[in-house]
């Protein structure tokens, strides 16, 4: 498998076939005397900002912590074992609502959208 071609920046789909975001980053682990292996994929704005620029990454991390609390300071990690790479998408054995990825969307829904007429 080619990690950059077949995994990174692909669409993530959760257990219920819902769009969950993209594979924003890959985390590799170097073991003593063992070849490096991919341990996690990362999802979230902090990873994306880090990819663009280290300083931007730190600033976005602080902003996310301020807005969403401590659990948003670091990007959300999904263990490699939970992942199935299919042709077009990457499927994870998780429920989107059990992850912090959509917390801001939930906030919007609760505080804005549901208060509008016609929702």
């Amino acid at each position: 498998m080619d990690l950059f071609r077949d995994v990174l920046d692909k669409q993530l789909i959760d257990r219920n076939n819902e769009k969950l975001g993209k594979v924003d980053g890959l985390v590799m682990v170097l073991g003593e005397g063992a070849p490096p292996r991919v341990a996690y994929i990362e999802v979230g704005p902090v990873t994306l900002a880090r990819r663009l620029n280290r300083g931007l990454g730190q600033r976005v991390a602080r902003l996310c912590e301020k807005l969403g609390g401590a659990r948003h300071r670091e990007p959300f990690r999904i263990p490699w074992a939970k992942i199935i790479v299919t042709g077009t998408d990457v499927t994870v054995g998780l429920d989107a609502d059990d992850t912090p990825i959509r917390d801001w969307q939930k906030w919007l829904r609760r505080n804005v959208i549901e208060r509008l007429p016609g929702a």
Binding site: L8, D9, Q11, L20, G21, K22, G118
Partner: protein
């Protein structure tokens, strides 16, 4: 039978959706200032958008990917931010121009200044996106857009010299106002080759779950729809070329001048027809661009997207189109002249084309996405030539127009 109906619907959609404030004002400016001489720019732009729309549909049908989604996947996030930001910015200006178009139409109909209409128009866009479905938006509004056919009827009724019209199809050098000539040519190209048009089309194709069996339908829709659309822009140019110069109008600085374009043909009804065309065509385009802004962000970041998804299930998507309509309307509220904004944003579109079209061409030649349905040398060559020409003309003529007066 079902396919035939879909072809018809698709064509109606593209005809009704083609003319908006960009094609209309650039064509009218060209006709007023240079007669039939700039017809070639409309032809060139139309040929290019036919190829691009066909590619966008083919890409969606074969790869099941939307274009932003695939650009990020293929080139990585760090590259993707470049076309993302440039398209969002250009769309922001073009959307403001379309909202301005609706406002100008309403000003003509009611006498109330265009700025007052900015927020109500933004609200009207938002309500339809909030309550409507993809079908209503795409087909309903576009069918109403057929009112813009009045420009073709007008052109025929004015009995132009068809020989002169034909001569305008050949590019020629201007005899006066050289830099203005190229600037208008660039604006026409930018108005015809709008990225939101083929991005939007590919999103629609993915939403309608197209597969390889749709390729014929796609080819028919793209070529017939866009050619008829181009014909309407051509109609507007011909009418402007016959109506304005004899009355001493060679530059359309005010909506009051432009609004008289149809009165020599249809009398009092000409003004109403013009205002209605402007309102409907620009409203339709504004809906599409607002939606396209949301598609772009959602597809680039992997959110749920789609016009048929219930709002409550899709807060991110909704917040983008809401912000898009609102922020663009502010430019009009603060009094930016919609006509100047239009011409400028169309030229800027032309300048920004390589940022989106070149990566798209790479995708269209990628075996992994398209297999045997990859581009041939003809489509690659035609699109690349017209895009690079538009780009070069744009970077030369935009500064000249701004600083040269």
């Amino acid at each position: 039978m079902k396919k035939l109906l879909e072809i018809t619907l698709g064509i109606v959609t593209s005809i009704g959706g083609f003319l908006e404030i960009g094609s209309l004002t650039t064509a009218a400016q060209a006709g007023a200032a240079f007669g039939f001489q700039l017809i070639w720019a409309i032809l060139l732009g139309t040929i290019c958008i036919i190829f691009l729309v066909e590619m966008a549909g083919r890409f969606a049908a074969v790869s099941r990917h939307t274009i932003p989604d695939a650009i990020r996947e293929r080139f990585g996030f760090n590259f993707f931010v470049i076309p993302l930001i440039s398209t969002l910015l250009v769309n922001f200006l073009v959307l403001a121009a379309e909202i301005g178009g609706v406002c100008l139409g309403l000003q003509l109909l009611t006498g109330i200044g265009f700025q007052w209409w900015a927020l109500p128009v933004a609200f009207a866009i938002w309500v339809l996106l909030w309550k409507g479905t993809f079908g209503v938006i795409e087909q309903g509004v576009s069918a109403l857009g057929l009112v813009t056919l009045c420009f073709v009827v007008g052109a025929v009724l004015l009995h132009p010299s068809w020989k002169d019209v034909g001569l305008g199809a050949l590019p020629t050098l201007p005899s006066h106002d050289k830099s203005h000539y190229w600037f208008i040519a660039v604006s026409i190209l930018g108005a015809s080759i709008t990225p939101y048009l083929f991005f939007f089309y590919s999103s629609g194709a993915v939403e309608d779950k197209w597969d390889e069996s749709y390729l014929g339908l796609n080819r028919a829709t793209a070529s017939l729809g866009m050619s008829f659309g181009g014909t309407i822009a051509l109609g507007a140019l011909i009418v402007a070329a016959i109506v304005f110069p004899p009355r001493g109008i060679t530059q359309l600085d005010h909506i009051e001048q432009l609004s008289l374009i149809l009165t020599p043909i249809f009398g009092h009804w000409g003004l109403i027809l013009f205002a209605a065309s402007l309102c409907i065509a620009c409203y339709g385009a504004a809906l599409e661009i607002s939606l396209e802004q949301a598609y772009l962000v959602a597809q680039g970041f992997g959110w749920k997207w789609g016009e048929d998804v219930r709002p409550k299930d899709d807060p991110g998507f909704i917040s983008v189109y809401t912000m898009a309509a609102l922020s663009s309307s502010l430019l009009i509220l603060f009094g930016l002249d919609p006509l100047k904004l239009t011409i400028f944003s169309m030229a800027l579109t032309a300048a920004s084309l390589p940022l989106t079209v070149v990566p798209f061409l790479f995708l269209m030649n990628d075996e992994k996405y398209l297999g045997e349905f990859r581009n041939g040398w003809l489509s690659n060559g035609v699109v690349l030539f017209i895009i690079m020409l538009s780009f070069l003309l744009a970077i030369v003529s935009i500064p000249l127009e701004i600083f040269g007066g």
